[in-house]
Chain length 256, copies 2
């Protein structure tokens, strides 16, 4: 009854008790994989106490230094945000988020749900690494959801979606054996964005001293389309080609 | 944006931290009224610490000695149960539970969501006081949901249902000025059940030494139908009449 391939990523959690409570919420809802990005204190007795029987999740948790490391191999990385909108990515409600995740999992993809710090959430730079955002509707007068409570709500919606999918007996659509028909992973997506930025700077289209929102808008555009690996390869091929042409053009005119 | 008339009732909570976390979850989702049945330690610094800004909910919380006191005036009392079935009451999923609650609230009714002890939940006697049960689907291999996490999930579903109702602009149907067209309150329901039992015992239909499941089955039957106050009055009138006839009959035959 466990739900595979949905990774819970907690970024720089301050209170180990919250890590334990998140692990318990995960296990209750049948999620298994916990990744901690630079936690303040882990392992910690408070984490074990609040996990209350979900110690196996804590024992198997991976600790990494940065968010991109936590997201390697993921086709989707959905960031939990207290703000309903952010320029870089499409924003989902919990139910839509869960449907997206279980659909991806049924196709054999690996996904991540990303949760930020207790007080300040995820930074804009971290949100930029997410392919979508999810916003849990809260009382506008008191919107600071505890991080483990946010994990609980989204894991619950994932379980509900998973059970519905099982009940309606939707046949899983495994990704084809051709790796190019698979959706791009987050790291492939990042390489594309970096490549785009490189080209934008090289061409003078982007002034690195006055970047404005250009890269964020590009991220938004490409994140929304859910690129296939093949499409990333095509785009990057094109970018490389423009770089080659530009260099070639310079060589032609400057003679170097 | 607050949601009125939905009471959260916590029965004999052991850990004050859970009371605080429940208050925070309530406030996040726009619920206001907390009633504590015989809490082990309250007020308590751990409750305030975990409430994290929801101190107003804690300050306004009522402490009572028994579950029936907590439920006075409620048209619905939905008990959270780890077991999906219980003989006495109809069992709901969280989404159906939320729709039932917000529908009742829109008609001006007061409702309660009831949560049991950390280790043992609600007793059968307490479940009997509930008009419906709600079961949060969990991993069967690890189903012990933290009490504040259960409050969080159900309060979240209530908020989602409330927002949907607001978005679809369903006009509220206030209860008529005639108190008899209103649904029966939990205490009126209890009086009916007690009256039924009295009659069942008096008539020899129920052996108090071997009660089996009779009263529970009766509860289930009447709870499922969601009685109006008027209907309770009619039923109790009928019960009184049978008692009067019986006494009258005895008087006739025994001459006392």
């Amino acid at each position: 009854m466990n739900i595979p391939r949905i990774r819970i990523v907690l970024v720089e959690t301050s209170h180990p008790g919250n890590i334990g409570a998140a692990a318990r919420a995960m296990k209750n809802m049948g999620l298994e994989e916990l990744v901690l990005v630079a936690p303040e204190a882990f392992p910690h007795p408070q984490a074990s106490a609040r996990a209350s029987g979900a110690d196996d999740i804590l024992a198997a948790a991976r600790v990494v230094a940065t968010l991109p490391e936590a997201l390697v191999g993921c086709a989707l990385a959905i960031g939990s945000s207290a703000r309903p909108r952010h320029l870089a990515a499409e924003s989902l409600e919990p139910r839509g988020c869960a449907a997206l995740l279980t659909g991806a999992v049924a196709r054999g993809e690996t996904c991540a749900l990303v949760f930020g710090r207790e007080r300040t959430g995820l930074t804009n730079a971290e949100l930029d690494h997410c392919t979508q955002l999810v916003h849990i509707p809260t009382n506008p007068a008191y919107s600071s959801l505890n991080v483990a409570a946010a994990v609980q709500v989204l894991a619950y919606e994932v379980r509900m979606s998973w059970l519905q999918r099982a009940a309606s007996d939707v046949p899983a659509q495994p990704a084809g054996s051709d790796p190019f028909t698979a959706p791009a992973t987050v790291d492939e997506f990042e390489q594309l964005i970096e490549h785009l930025q490189q080209v934008a700077i090289e061409t003078g289209f982007l002034d690195p001293l006055k970047p404005k929102h250009l890269m964020r808008r590009l991220r938004r555009l490409f994140a929304r389309t859910r690129l296939e690996a093949r499409e990333v390869a095509i785009l990057r091929g094109l970018l490389s080609a423009t770089q080659g042409r530009k260099r070639a053009g310079r060589r032609d005119s400057d003679g170097d």
